[in-house]
Amino acid sequence: MFHELLSKIDQTLGIRHARAHCDIPCGIYDPHQAQVAALTVIRMIDLMNDLSNSQKMETLDYHNSMSRYIAVKEEHAELVKREVRVIFGDYMKKEQVDKYPELPTLVHHILQLGSKCRQTTSRDAALELLGKVNRFAEIFWETKGIPTKKVKAPYKPGEEIVYPLL
């Protein structure tokens, strides 16, 4: 009863907050980095395929370019995992997990697909990763009451990406 009364007062007049935070309370969360990183993984796999079809493997340039593509693929697949883990762990609360029961399994799939994209050159795995990250982004924006739309990224690999309608 007291809590309801105080909540109403808080809504109308605003009550000072006392922080009991577990992390620096910046409050900045956005799945966009994870989505761009997932797109980057697909792009790197495409570049790797293009390179292996176009250049002789014994050249120094081949090894130089291929090493760079692999390094970026590694980095961005891991970035997807990190960004999703932070949003799921720090932003999502029990109420949101209760409202979206698919979330824990979805995050688990993203983490596994992120690792698969590091271990292999499977474009299908990278596409699946992007699809799951897009779904994660949809849920994230829904929790904020912000609608989303799906558009094709205006750059290679030109795959579909979820954007908030701000």
Binding site: L6, D10, H17, A18, R19, A20, H21, C22
Partner: protein
């Protein structure tokens, strides 16, 4: 004399949960100095108004070491001790968000 505050964050779970309200006052300190286990509200230059649990108090220096119940809590392990002069008060009334659902 009394401060009404709403709790933000989870570092004191399960004692205090996000969304709970607390009333803090300095009056209890007139009767008895701050001591380990007290829930206190204080001002921090970087983190502003905070609520934490007292781990220990060193009366000679006025240093109070605060902690959260959560392993990732931002507390004296990160920002060191706080001073008695920065304390807003001891929590004297805790209004829970949903007491029926708690064990």
């Amino acid at each position: 004399m009394f401060s009404l505050l709403k709790v933000e964050g989870n570092s004191l779970e399960p004692i205090v949960l996000e969304g709970d309200f607390v009333i803090a006052s300095k009056i209890p300190f007139l009767i008895r100095p701050v001591r380990a286990g007290d829930l206190i509200v204080f001002q921090h230059v970087l983190y502003k108004t905070m609520i934490k649990q007292v781990e220990r108090y060193e009366p000679e220096t006025g240093d109070i070491y605060v902690t959260g119940t959560h392993s990732g809590s931002i507390d004296s392990r990160i920002f060191g001790p706080i001073r008695m002069r920065d304390v807003v008060g001891k929590v004297i009334w805790h209004i829970q968000r949903n007491p029926k659902k708690r064990v």
